[in-house]
Amino acid sequence: MENFASLLHGFGVALSTYHVALMMIGVLLGILVGVLPGLGAPNGVSLLLPLTFTMDPVAAIILLTSMYWGALFGGSTTSILFNIPGEPSSVATTFDGYPMARQGQATQALTLAFLSAGFGALVGVILITVLSTWVAKFALRFSSPEYFAVYFLAFASFIGLGAASPFKTVVSMGLGFAFAAVGMDTVSGGLRLTYGFNELLSGISFLIAVIGLFGIGELMLTMEEGLRFDGIRARVKVRDVLKTIATLPRYWVTLLRSSAIGCWMGITPGGPTAASFMSYGIAKRLSRRKDNFGQGEPEGVVAPETADHAAGSSAILPMLALGVPGSATAAVMMGGLMIWGLNPGPMLFIERPDFVWGLIASMYLGNIVAVLMVLATIPLFASILRIPFAIIGPVIVVVCFVGAYTVAGRPFDLWLALAFGIVGYLFKKLDYPIAPLVLAMVLGDKAEDAFRQSMIMSRGSLSIFWSNGLVTTLMLIGLALALGPVLSTLVGRMRPKASSAVA
């Protein structure tokens, strides 16, 4: 009940005209970046972040999280109307959403997508409300070795649960740590890895990396595929919307199951993309109308959308309570919190309860605002995609570079953004995962500090990582996840040989 009182207090913080206005602006900007190719939630938040440095942290985080919700909705819109996922996490929505729209059921598909997304997000936020204090209290017992173990676990789960080659995941993650190490060493205060370049003295900002990797890299990929929009004209009719709302309870099993999958993948760093695919796959396997999947089955829209948004919102929980973000966008927001001088983790709940609960309350309000606004403005945003790419493309490029420059006002960052763009293009084409790189860049200093402090505590002995039950458990789960793919390939290699020997 303690949480409930705090939440009510949080509503008191979040429910002001100024904050609600910020939510609406955030959602609109979010839908815009979600709809535009090459811009998405992570780099949308990165681009907006430098403009919020002078704002009050509560107002700033409300703006950024609202943008996040808006971007998730915008991503689903283009999936359904244009068969172009605006976000990687809405790829699974194209499977049934686009066929539905082609059959003239665009309004139904959009309404179902937005409502189930809103439902998923709500479940995620309720989970945060219930669990966050408990997780934060638990995490108060953590000292450096436990923190290092939690970081290790987070990165190990990328290796174990990600779809990409484990080697590529490790490369991406390692490069992120290496980039984070450039510049000032937070423990000794000395400079390192600058190779004599003055431009590298202040380090490489993760915001530049996100803008390059996600923004410019994504645009290059879009250009290569040759852009063409075969959009479906959608006029959202109020009667159809109401009719569709009435059908929603029919999908309650799918809604609950997908929310559970989403919350789990959001808290562990599986992320929204993995959650939506997994949820779609399971819904298809368990559905009675299996054969309709891929041809415009409403359940095929409900399942990925619910999981996507449940994961998107619950990814905020580990970020707030542990300081370990569950998705690339959460990582960017956490970087933002650190820039504002807030230290995500259990102490934040004690030092800045107004901030934490204001944020959580704003997530309830923000999602409701987002569902209403997205239903009202979709025709407008869909028409943006009809502007020729020769106009919209260069504008997006300029926005990316202007955003990169505003991070620190350094001309050198323009080159860095371009370089990260090329890397992002190569990585995407060759199936290197990008989220681990971003997470490693944000967490790099913290993970290294935790490691070095643990080493100081133990006088250089690695045995500190199995010195008590808690840290041992965390490390063991981490090791199991990290080595999982290696073991399964080994077992997989042995098996066919064994069977061929028998045959």
Partner: protein, 159 residues
Amino acid sequence: MISRFAAEIGTATLTAGLGLAAVVGALEFGIGWGDAGPEPGAFPFYIGLLVIAASMGTLIQTTVGRHGLQSVFIHREEAKRVASFFLPMLAFVIVARLLGLYVATALYISFVMWAQGKYRLVISVASGIAAAIAFYLVLEVAFQVPLLKGPLEAALGLY
């Protein structure tokens, strides 16, 4: 036309090179045990080794599974499209360094609209200048965030 195999090898070599750079850079700052625990270079050193090892893993995996990777990484047509996007963008960055972001924005948008969008020159240039002014109003006036400026802004006294 580049094969997927060549692209994989190239990228893995690049990442191994970056790992090596981290290792070499870290050696300069000490990788052992100092007065205050591990020296500053220790963490980057091992991270660099990890990146090299994982890149080697990808190289080996690629070489072993070579026939599976004969697919095309990029066609001539696709490469042309990427180049037609990338080269103006590269020019944009160079011009931005010399003449400031606003002038570069106006030139870049005008050029792409005129050369690739096949708009009339007048319309393209007008749109480019309009976009630059819009950016100026949003950033410098509304948010008071200064952008990189060049000789033109100095001549106009916009500081």
